[in-house]
Symmetry: C2
């Protein structure tokens, strides 16, 4: 249902993105910049911009430039992250640096980043107050700084096993939720929302963004390989910090804590069940799921400041979708 | 003389840059982002913003945010270029990726990029019309896209020895001159310049930016090792495309052309004098110098649309400085 709803917006968003990318020269840079966008993706962030704008009474077409910019920033961060993490595949295709090499991949990311700001600045100020364009742009820029900070925090967690829950939440807020919050906030700004509406939609975005990442952590141990598209417990094998790990390490006996740390350092698939056993013993899986549930519940309640509309209902569906997805 | 003039502005510019970088968290990212800025640099681009603003009657303090953004963008591009080109040293210090590794260096660049836009957006709209802030920002964003395109073009020239002069000029315009043109144009916009003044200062910036790069090409063969800080003819040894190479290849006999191509591919210091011999035979060194001279002359003439002021005289000094420098 959400997928059909997202599809309704994707054509006009794709057109907007296509128009801005088509002018990139030389062609190698253009192709490298366009590769991941062409490879697909749900276009969740741009849809959230348009929905948030509509939910406060704005016109769909006025929000399209800012919507496109969200996908450009999301794609920029994926390209650079793949270089940093040496990930060879993305969206079922070789990542940009695998095809064009690291220098061109760095440049493709930088280009998309610049194009994102250019696109917001092209918002027609005959229909949208220039002050709102500046405010929307501030929101977008702020989320970009947070994405960089979140990725740096994530890198700093590597090999560190005493991450506090608060630090972990800050990391996933900056790395994932900040851009989603920027999408809903910028949409509300462009759509002409009141301060109260803008604040509510911004917070809605932050909460579903957090729930989105926490659900990712959760699915790694409760989903199955077919749905996930990768083996259950991959995060455990990779020794990745997740909310379950943070919770278990904070609550386990010193013996279990040591066992969990050695499992996370072992890079051994046969130990996944042992880790899940520890998570279960301390209620870490349930704890994680509950935080995601709470966030989504609060996010939906926040929407009540808005007048009833189709867009408002769609935003509720998106919030539910965050928990319903199985991969 | 120019150095003293630049120094006059550097304190307030440094303060502005320091303020925006100080909020970056975590500290590793903050240090990596600040490293090259701390290492020094002439701060030519930010000074050009302030001078251009003053030259059209603007207030120094209103242009400082945009001035700072220029140095942030310049530094962002240096950090990413050093990764791409595998350059280990910059401004007499190890480059960012040599100290913090490539992932953190990519992020430091991305952070400075974001911070640059944030800084322009913080311009006080009580003193500067918001429309002018948006126009200045468009100018800055446009130059960022060009920097990426210019670097991609430069990469595409590697191993290619049939670069036309027009292609070469497009490359150095995008890679080097566009940001200098953005500095003078954005300064004129923020300072409240007329369309005629903005256009003249933008073109002045483009011309001295081109002359700056062409002078670099020229110095590689006419300067001495002591002044350059590197051996004479390094560009030739590295097989780099320069205006002299472009000119010589276009004008040499097929025999000399083949000789020059084999020298550029040889990576052999002992062949530098042979290459210079070919350049001299076809007047390529003089040709290069003359283009730089012409650009600076025209740039200075363009300033005549401005009323007389100290800033205008300083801009003339900067134009001359481009040709006077020996490294």
């Amino acid at each position: 249902m959400v997928k059909e709803m997202l599809k309704r917006y994707s054509e006009s968003i794709d057109k907007e993105i296509g128009a801005t990318l088509s002018t990139i020269d030389p062609s190698t840079l253009c192709e490298a910049s366009d590769h991941l966008i062409k490879a697909g993706g749900k276009k969740l962030r741009p849809a959230l911009v348009v929905l948030s704008s509509e939910a406060v009474g704005g016109r769909n077409e006025d929000a399209l430039k800012t919507a496109a910019s969200m996908e450009l920033i999301h794609t920029f961060s994926l390209i650079h992250d793949d270089i940093m993490d040496k990930d060879e595949m993305r969206r079922g295709k070789p990542s940009v640096h695998m095809i064009w090499g690291e220098p061109m991949a760095i440049l493709a990311g930088d280009t998309l980043f610049s194009k994102a700001f250019e696109t917001v600045l092209e918002t027609d100020t005959k229909n949208v107050d220039p002050k709102r364009v500046v405010e929307a742009l501030k929101t977008v820029v702020d989320s970009c700084i947070k994405i960089c900070e979140g990725q740096a925090l994530d890198i700093s967690f590597e090999g560190k096993l005493e991450v506090k829950e608060e630090e972990y939440m800050t990391m996933i807020y900056k790395k994932t939720a900040a851009l989603i919050a920027a999408a809903t906030k910028a949409g509300a700004i462009i759509g002409g929302g009141t301060d109260e509406q803008i604040e509510a939609l911004s917070e809605y975005g932050r909460l579903i963004g957090l729930a989105f990442q926490i659900q990712d952590d959760y699915l790694d141990v409760v989903s199955d390989e077919e749905d996930l598209g990768k083996p259950v417990g991959s995060d455990i094998v990779e020794g990745k910090m997740t909310l379950m790990v943070v919770h278990a390490l904070a609550n386990a006996s010193s013996e279990d804590k040591e066992r969990l740390i050695s499992i996370l350092n072992a890079n051994d698939e046969s130990l996944v069940d042992n880790a899940i056993g520890i998570f279960n013993k301390y209620g870490s899986i349930e704890y994680t799921r509950n935080i995601a549930l709470d966030n989504v519940k609060t996010a939906k309640e926040l929407l009540e400041v808005l007048d009833d509309s189709e867009a408002k209902e769609s935003l509720k569906l998106v919030a539910d979708f965050v928990l319903e997805r199985t991969h």
